[in-house]
Structures are given as C-alpha cells and as structure tokens.
C-alpha cells in the first residue's frame, strides 16, 4: 500500500519553536507552499527511492568524512535530508548585509591588533583578552599582509531564535570547512527533484569555486602575472580531505601536501615531474601550528620548513593569513558588535547571542548561579567538543565545568540556551522537527561575495541542539529564492500574523 506523503506531514508537530516551514500546524509559510504541495502528491515509495538515490550518489562519489573511534578511521556519508531549507530573497538580503558588515569589521580588527592596537588603547576591548588569546601571533606584529586582507574565507554560523531572528553563533576565521557539501547537496537535489527545483528561482551556488579562485589570485605577490595557486592539505587521512580534493578539482589547481613543497632561494616551489615549479598563493587547509616546523610546532610533518620566512618576505601569499585564529576565539566574539561600532560607526545588522564572560566578576557570579540554563563553551574548541549544555547536564558535569571556569576564566564563555529554529526532517519514518543552523561562506577578495544560503546543518537526534557531523548531524540543501509572487505573499502573510498577534494581545 502506498502511503501518500501528506500523512507524513499530517503528524508533524511545530511545538514551541520557530519552524522554518510551518507558521502553525498545517499552515506552511508562503515560500514553502509549492514544496508542500509537491511532497503531498508524492508516494512514500517514490520518496524512498529518491532517498536511496541520494545516498547512492554520495557514496559512489566518495562524498564522505572520516570518523576516528578506533585505530582505523571509518568513512561515513554526511547524512543528507531531502527537505530543503528555503530562504526568501528579502530575508537573505539582510543576512548578506549583516555578514558583509561583520567580515569587514573583523578584517579591520585584525589589521589593528597586529599594528597600532588602537581598539585596545581606547579601551573598547581589554588588552589582556587579545594578548592572552591562544591564537594571537605577536610574531606578526607590524607585518603587512597582501592587500590588507586577513580573513579571505570565513564561515559564520547563524542560528534563529524563537521569533525567527537571525543571530551570529560563531565566526570560523581559520579553515572553515563544509562548503563542498553545499555544492554536492545542490547537485544531488537538482538530479533528484528537477521539477520542484524548476518551480523555484533558486540562486545558483555553482560559481563558488570560481569566486574562491578569484579571491586567491587577488592576493598573489606583485609580479606574478599568471599566479600559481595551490591547495595545501594535511593529506588523505584528514577528515575534510574530500573537500580539499573537491575544491582543488573544481578550481583546476594542484592539491599539495607539505612534502610536495620546498623552499629554495626564499621562494616556495612544488616538486613536479619536470622539476621545481614556483608557487605564488597557498590556500592552506592546515592550521597555523602545523604550517612550518621551523617556526611553530617542531614536530609537524605536515608543514613546509621555511614557509613562514617566504611568507614574511612576500614571496608567497597565504589564505587565510597567519594569526586569524584570534578572531574566532569565542571571547573575542563577544566584542564583535563593539568592533562594528568602533571601526564602522554602524549598528550591527546581525546580533550576537548574549554572552557572559567569566573573566568579568559580575558575569562569573551570574554564570555560576545559572549553570542549568546556560551553555558553557571553551573559547577555542570546535566541532561540538568542550561544551556543556546546562539543561542536559548532570549535577556532576556542572560541578566539573564550574571548576574549570573558576580555574581558567579567560578561556570560557557562557550563553543562554537558544531554542534553535527547527525544520522538518525525515527521521524515524516520518517528518519531524529538528533543530538547524546555517553556515554561509564569505569570500573576501576584491569584493565580498557570499554563497547564497550556505550549509544548513541539522541535528538529527530528537531534541539535540548539536548539529556537528561528529555528533550525529546531517545537512540540507539551502535555497535562496528570488520570486516576487512569494515575496508579496510573504508580506501579506507577515502583516496578517502581526495583526492577529496584536488582536490576541488586546
């Protein structure tokens, strides 16, 4: 018997969250109505077939990441959910302006703290917070990076609160990963839902690789007319290796490992079958610590001896620049809205999640008294590690974190638990609301370009707020749609909503 999809959606619960698709049970938001209609017409067998098709396509292309839980890494597909997330153009425009403003301020901040440090002298950010940041690189004080750009590629994580406001959760300003999933997800969706896709005017994401290459070529040392750009990877065993190879392939550049490069005569070269070839720009997917065993970690076998010296002399450019990690320190994050006001004299378009700093005595008191309602994060961990979600923790775990915070207040932050928005996802044989975030990728070259949409990550475990792939997360295709009909419907929809709200309050 074929169960029509409408049954799967009819059980759907919105609960007390902001739902991306449904404004209320059975009331789809205007930009989702065509999607809902399509899924209602689809039989469950058809839906199942499409799911299999998607999984097979990811597996055969080797779109996998590696999980290390024993000696042998196992390859897994990043779970893909077939219900796309849709963002109307008007909503996206705001996000885009907010992100552009933010990356501009972050780059000004990095330039400032590696030069005059006026933001510290003016007391906007306490001096010690920068100087004590794990990823601050005082070795690069007064060093001029090519074109004054520090962060060329940034992945900024956004979430939506219970009212649907977009908030910034964190900035990934070192080596953000995941963009290959955006491109692969899109390709898969186009293959699997050609008709649905053509009913929406979805902004293309396929030019990301070209934009990335342009941003990389833009920082080439002067004199390099046809600059040679390479992607430096830690190698095949890195969990993001697939992405490295994907990006190199789609840009048509070489993917190199540290052992492929050698510094000679002050310049970086790669070893080819025809001898050494000069390299001008390195898109490095290796963290600062491993770049050059002569300067940073001595035991690094992934890096290239002498690379940093060549970089200092301007013989080779790096993206991202060395020392950007200070900008994605979660304590520094707290100050980004202040940076925006300080450098740009503007109000932040996208707000931060309210953040408490244990290094401030008042905040510390508040944090320790309210641990069950807070999320505590270590300032420099990522991937969902090193954090405590108060509401889901035991008293012992809270005690442990309280100890850690007291011992090292500089390296923790606390935030109220945000009820992340949810999006319908196919779990346990039916449609269920699952929490999502959004990571747009921002390129800073001659101009700022942002991939329309980005990576929507979804926490597939019921109730979970952690979307990381290492913790049971999956992803969805993200559509930014240009459609006047939708925009008009959306406008009247929002009006009617606010009217009904004001009526219900009177």
């Amino acid at each position: 018997m074929i169960i029509p999809m409408s049954d799967l959606f009819s059980q759907y619960k919105v609960d007390n969250f902001f739902d991306e698709m449904f404004a209320a049970p059975d009331v789809a938001r205007p930009h989702y109505s065509r999607l809902l209609a399509t899924f209602k017409e689809m039989g469950s067998a058809d839906f199942e077939r499409k799911r299999d098709l998607a999984a097979a396509s990811f597996l055969s292309q080797g779109v996998t990441f590696t999980v290390y839980n024993d000696d042998q890494g196992t390859e897994r597909i990043f779970p893909f959910d077939l219900i796309p997330r849709i963002i109307p153009a008007s909503e996206w425009d705001l996000v885009e302006r907010g992100l552009t403003q933010r990356i501009t301020a972050l780059n000004l901040f990095l330039h400032d703290i590696y030069h005059a440090q006026s933001i510290l002298r003016d007391g906007v950010i306490p001096k010690e917070i920068v100087w004590e940041a794990v990823h601050f690189r005082p070795e690069f004080m007064n060093f001029d990076v090519p074109r004054n750009i520090y962060i060329h590629i940034c992945g900024t994580d956004l979430i939506r609160d219970r009212s649907g406001n977009y908030l910034v959760l964190e900035d990934n300003a070192r080596c953000p990963s995941g963009v290959s999933y955006v491109l692969e997800n899109r390709q898969t969706m186009k293959r699997i839902f050609p008709t649905l896709f053509s009913e929406y005017r979805v902004r293309p994401v396929e030019d990301y690789s070209q934009n990335l290459l342009n941003a990389l070529r833009y920082i080439a040392p002067t004199g390099a007319e046809e600059p040679t750009v390479v992607l430096l990877t830690p190698g095949i065993y890195n969990s993001a290796y697939y992405e490295h190879s994907f990006l190199a392939r789609s840009m048509g550049i070489e993917i190199v490992e540290g052992r492929d490069l050698i510094v000679q005569g002050g310049c970086v070269h790669m070893r080819t079958t025809k001898g050494l070839k000069r390299v001008d720009v390195i898109y490095r997917r290796i963290n600062d610590d491993f770049l050059d065993p002569r300067v940073f970690r001595k035991d690094s076998e992934l890096g290239v001896p002498g690379l940093v010296e060549a970089y200092r002399c301007g013989c080779v450019s790096l993206a991202n620049s060395i020392g950007t990690g200070v900008a994605d320190d979660k304590v520094i994050y707290h100050f980004v809205p202040k940076m925006i006001r300080y450098y740009l004299d503007q109000d932040p378009i996208l707000e931060n999640v309210p953040t408490y700093l244990p290094s401030q005595p008042n905040d510390l008191k508040h944090i320790l008294e309210h641990l069950p309602e807070l999320v505590v994060k270590s300032a420099n961990e990522s991937g969902g590690y090193g954090m405590l979600i108060g509401s889901q923790s035991s008293a012992a775990e809270r005690e442990e974190f309280a100890g850690k915070i007291r011992q090292d207040p500089r390296n923790y932050i606390a935030q109220p638990i945000v009820a992340l928005s949810r999006s319908p996802s196919f779990c346990e044989e039916s449609m269920q609301g699952r929490h999502v975030d959004l990571r747009p990728y921002i390129l800073y070259g001659e101009k700022v370009t942002i991939i329309p949409g980005g990576l929507t990550r979804v926490a597939l475990r019921a109730g979970s707020l952690v979307v990381n792939s290492s913790q049971g997360g999956g992803s969805k295709d993200t559509w930014v749609v240009d459609d006047e009909e939708i925009e008009e419907a959306l406008e009247s929809f929002l009006q009617s909503q606010s009217q009904s709200q004001s009526q219900s309050t009177t």
């Binding site: 055969s60 095949i236 070489e254 490992e257 052992r259 492929d260 070893r271 080819t272 079958t273």
Partner: protein
C-alpha cells in the same frame, strides 16, 4: 605534474592490473581443477600458484594446506595479503583519492564502485556461490576502468604514467604465469607431453585471455614452446611481454618528448635495451638460455626500469 601525483597514478594503475591478474589466475586454475577431475592433487596444483606470486611465506603463516578454499580466500578477500584483490583495490582507491583532481570523476567512480562491491556482503556471497561470476566482475571492472580512462582522461603525462603502471604489471604477470609451468619444459619435455599437459597449457593461455588469439595463429596446436613463443615475443597481442615492453618504452618517451630511437634518461636507456632484447630474441635462444632464467631476468629488468623511472620523475620527493 606533481611528482607525488605521478607516483600515485602509476601505483593506482598497477594495483588495478594486479587485482585483475589475481582474478584471472584464480579463475583459470579453479576451472582447470574441474577439467582435471580426480587426476589433480590439490597441493601440487596450488603450491606453484602461490610460489609464482612470491607469497609462499605469508600464505604458510595464514593457512595450513594450499587448496581451493585457502588459496581463493588468500587471493580474493584476505586483507592480510597486501596483494589480494581486495587489498589491491583498497590501495588503488587510496591512490585514486590522492589524485582525484587529476583523474576524471568517471574513473574515480569506477574504482570506488568496484571497491565498494568487494567490501560488500554481496561479494562474499557471490564468491561462494559462483566464483566465476565474481572473477568476471573484477576483470570487467578493471577493463571498464581502462576504457573509462582512455575515453575520459586527457591523454597527457598522467595518462602515460597510468599506462606505464599497467604495462609493467602486466609484463611481470605474464612472465610469472608462464614461469609457473616452466618445469614441464625441462629438456626431457618431449616425453612429458600427454593430455594433461595440453590442458594445462591451454589454461595458461586462458589466464591471459590468449587462447583464441593463439589458436588463430597456430591453428589450434597447443605446444609448450609455441605457447612460450607467443606469450613472450608476439608483437601485437596486448598481454605478450614484447607488446608490453614496446608500449612501455613508447610511453616513457612520450613523457620526456624524446625520440624513441634515443634515450634521455636512465629509465629510457633501460627500457630501450629491454625492448630491443625482447624484439630480437628467438624462442630457440630463450630455451638455450633456460626459460625460467630468462623470465626471472625479465622480471628483474622490469624492476630496474620501474626504479629508474621513480628516480627520474619522483625522486625529488624523497630527497627532502
């Protein structure tokens, strides 16, 4: 092209060819057992197969006696054998993964599909229920990979490194398959003869897909020295040693751009000399020298070409 990439393409290709040759050898020998029926002594039949592949020690450490089941397991899905079909495909795929920006997506997908099949439960079942079909999957998987390579990859430097890997491995494999039966060709060979031998020599030809081509040339007369002559000196049969060595020399020269009548590096000097030796040798001379000795020398000289090629194109890698 990056030296490391050239090296990986070469090994990717060698491992796929090796997996294919494993499948051929096993398939033919399993069928041969059926032909020989009760006359066959399993140990006598299988021990030389393992010896040909120079894996006797490893085999003995993993299994008791060499028989149909142990040898099949050893050469197909045994992960501890670095030259089993599964290990070869695993390594080929690892090499393909590090060179994905050089090979076409179709090539990657073909290797990956074959690898995923070998890792699957389906592969185990097929090997148990219908080994011939299993081997055909592997052999055709390899053929498909070669076809996809020729049809979708630019015929440039990388493609030539892939060909070199395949040709070196194939020449080596043909020489080993021939070598395993050399004892039948001892001076008293005239007396050995008999029905069993003919069937065995037909099996040798089958294992390199050469029976049909051979029969056309020699009109069906399966004689040991003719089989050896065909597999060593035939100019156009794609699995003969001469064909492989000629093409190998050609591919090396395509990479350097140097005329085939001259040499520009040590790899070309060695391959050119090997080529002219194999081009001009007669089967009479080979038997005079000793077939086993001759084949051993060929194998050694192939290793020398491989080493010289590494030194020429990839050594800057290890010099660091």
């Amino acid at each position: 092209m990056l030296s490391r990439v050239a090296d990986s393409l070469y090994w990717m290709s060698r491992y796929i060819e090796r997996a294919e040759n494993d499948a051929r050898i096993l398939d033919v020998n399993l069928q041969l057992l059926l032909d020989l029926g009760g006359e066959a002594d399993a140990m006598q039949h299988w021990a030389p197969v393992i010896a040909t592949l120079e894996e006797t020690d490893l085999f003995d450490s993993l299994y008791g006696a060499a028989d149909e089941h142990s040898v099949t397991d050893f050469l197909t899905l045994q992960k501890k054998n670095p030259n089993s079909i599964l290990s070869c495909l695993t390594l080929a795929r690892e090499n393909a993964r590090t060179t994905r920006e050089q090979i076409s997506s179709e090539m990657w997908e073909q290797i990956n599909r074959l690898y995923l099949f070998l890792e699957s439960e389906e592969a185990k079942q097929l090997l148990n229920s219908s080994p011939h079909e299993f081997f055909m999957r592997v052999i055709f998987g390899s053929h498909l990979f070669q076809g996809v390579t020729d049809a979708t990859m630019t015929h440039g430097e990388g493609w030539d490194f892939i060909r070199i890997g395949r040709l070196l491995e194939r020449a080596d494999s043909t020489s080993r398959i021939l070598d395993v039966k050399y004892h039948i060709l001892l001076p008293s060979g005239e007396n050995v003869g008999g029905n069993v031998d003919t069937i065995q020599w037909m099996a040798v030809l089958k294992s390199v897909s050469a029976l049909e081509a051979y029969c056309k040339l020699y009109v069906g007369q399966v004689a040991p020295w003719k089989v050896a002559e065909f597999l060593i000196t035939h100019r156009e049969f794609p699995r003969s040693i001469r064909y492989c060595v000629d093409s190998l020399d050609g591919a090396l020269h395509r990479i350097s751009g140097i005329d085939e009548s001259r040499y520009g590096n040590e790899a070309e000097r060695l391959s050119g000399r090997l080529r002219s030796d194999v081009d001009f040798v007669t089967i009479g001379e080979i038997f005079e020298f000793g077939l086993h000795e001759y084949l051993t020398e060929i194998q050694e000289r192939l290793v020398e070409v491989s080493n010289a090629m590494y030194a020429t194109y990839c050594a800057s890698l290890s010099a660091a």
